[in-house]
Amino acid sequence: MAAAFLPAHLMPLDAGAPVAAAGFLGQAPALALEDGTVLFVTLAAEQRVAAHPDASILVAVASGDKFITGGDDGRVVAVSADGAIHEIADEKGKWIDALATRDDGSIAWSSGKNVRSRDPAGGIKTFIAPSSVRGLAFMAKGYRIAIAHYDGATLWFPNAAAPPDLFQWKGSHLSITASPNGRFLATSMQENALHAWRVADKKDMRMSGYPAKTRSLSWSFDGHWLATSGADAAIIWPFTDKDGPINKAPLESGARNAKVTCVAFHPKSLVVAQGYDDGVVLLCRIPDGAEILVRASPKDARAITALAWDHAGGKLLFGAADGTAGLLDMPA
């Protein structure tokens, strides 16, 4: 990493409403806001799209060239970079609690116990989970969806005859993620802990000791590291061999007097962008822990709530709970 002064390359933004998610639709940086709109950020002008009129965006993920958003109006919507809105689903007012996408255009969402998957051709299948669903993730290979609910997680195969596969662990599982090589599932739990399973034999791994809930999880490009929020440093678990994090200590990066709220691994290198509850954004390299400041804590700052790299890893977009945001253009 060059020792450049990054704040000089940061364009501050004011989104006008708390930011739910950040992403790049192709090259276009966009922010999904809690007031139900999607904001496109360009140097020239700002474009706002009312994806969920009179409602709030609860979950949002950028996928390919679209922002997929789920609202408390029960709708799932795809917003394109040209501002076009396409309604994917309408759950009749039932909140969209979780959303997942994959680069091939697959989308999955949930409302209460109902999980729906939509394949790239638009075909929709439904699964009723054992209890209310809080998190969804696509496995990288095959058409399989990991679902987080109470007392465990389920792997569902929408197109297969095989029954869903239950991974049990008592408690409330919130976010869920699958390792890029498909070998591990990890969830964040209500009780300030992470849980993981080795998919092959369902071996349990418990990673506790977090002072707060972990809601942001990010895999490194090589699938060897899982960065997590919820502590005063990013806690980065090793998944370098078939035993994953078992009996291994995590790395800690960017330790400060503030809680990490968002983490995002760079798409091509072992660098983690980290957002904190005081509005600071840092880049940290692992494993040596070198840090560069992207954004210092502004006065009256609120937590970073969204963080995303573009596909090339040359730009970083973030948003905060107070509607402030920023777009970093990395120097070469």
Binding site: S132, D151, S172
Partner: protein
């Protein structure tokens, strides 16, 4: 810190008049806009934007304790509602007839994000004067709802005679002497007896007096004798233990005793409250608990003319009166 949103929990059996009260809260002009969390959508007669259906799904915390249950759906819903901040200033949680209020209350203690944003205001139980007697005999949930309440609306008093009303009132008092009790027809009470109670605000726990007593009780006593001609009832399993001494308490003894006691006996203790005079401490120490979850803090100064009384109340099932008494007295300074 920003003001926390007050949360009113409305409980009671179907048919007791809960829906009538709910619809009144939503339609009358009391200056507050409510977001409502309900289990059955059909019940709301009024058009309200912010009505959310809940699953009433409870999960156990992973600490092996069966009483440490939490309403996960409420955590998710409160988080979601907060994105619509500004559109409402209070939350009403309606529970189904068979619900135990404890998981609802505990939810507002255990999640850090919910605790920062919202504060329990009161648990309001609507009871049917005609049927409560029967329910208290066959349903432990009915007893929990009465024991847990800060406010009890004894409704449908027009359907029973005066004697029966007195009888059911006495039975309620045997379980919960501290809730404010209102006898009503059609839940016709001014809404300020139900809203804005601050019952869980430590700063507002000014006194712990049984509802039907006037004046102070400043001697050591338990809830044994009859009051105001009300027939005295003892419930077989739910009771309250109230202790009061005109002495300072040693916090080095009291805090460990209290913490250990609620951990050990938490499953049987529904609620507890206390106002203590700590040795060498000019501020009152106030605490409250729901099962094993304890919340306490130093509050305002003892006023010059105020007697430095240390008192506490436990409401629960099969409470060990002697053990509690000895334990408490052992903490005297």
């Amino acid at each position: 810190m920003a003001e926390r949103i007050p949360v009113t929990v409305l409980t009671g059996y179907l048919g007791a008049g809960k829906t009538t009260l709910l619809n009144r809260i939503l339609s009358e002009d009391h200056g507050r806009k409510f977001a409502v969390i309900v289990n059955e959508f059909g019940e709301i007669g009024i058009d309200n934007d912010l009505v959310v259906g809940a699953d009433e799904e409870v999960f156990e915390m992973n600490n092996g304790c069966i009483c440490c249950t939490v309403r996960g759906d409420l955590i998710r819903i409160v988080e979601g509602l907060l994105k619509r901040k500004g559109k409402f200033d209070a939350i009403l949680v309606e529970t189904t007839g068979l619900a135990d209020p404890a998981p609802v209350a505990q939810t507002f203690f255990v999640d850090a994000d919910v605790r920062d944003a919202a504060q329990l205001d009161a648990v309001v139980t609507v009871a049917d004067a005609k049927w409560l007697g029967e329910r208290l005999k066959d349903a432990p949930e009915a007893k929990n709802q009465i024991a847990f309440a800060d406010v009890i609306i004894l409704n449908k008093t027009d359907l029973v005679g005066a004697d029966e009303v007195s009888e059911i009132e006495a039975r309620i008092r045997a379980i919960n002497p501290y809730a404010k009790l209102h006898k009503t027809v059609n839940c016709a009470v001014p809404l300020d007896v139900v809203l804005g109670r601050n019952a869980f605000d430590l700063d507002r726990i000014l006194e712990i007096e049984p509802d039907f007593l006037d004046g102070e009780h400043d001697h050591e006593h338990e809830h044994e004798h009859a009051h105001h001609g009300l027939k005295h009832y003892h419930d077989e399993d739910m009771q309250s233990v109230s202790l009061s001494i005109e002495r300072d308490i040693d916090p080095e003894k009291f805090m460990p005793w209290l913490q250990n006691y609620v951990q050990k006996e938490g499953a049987s203790i529904l609620r507890a409250k206390g106002i203590l005079a700590f040795k060498d401490e000019s501020k009152r120490f106030v605490f409250q608990s729901v099962h094993m979850l304890l919340d306490g803090d130093l509050q305002r100064e003892w006023k010059p003319q105020e007697k430095r009384l240390s008192r506490l109340v436990f409401i629960g099932r099969n409470l060990k009166k002697d053990e509690i008494t000895q334990g408490f007295l052992g903490c005297a300074a």
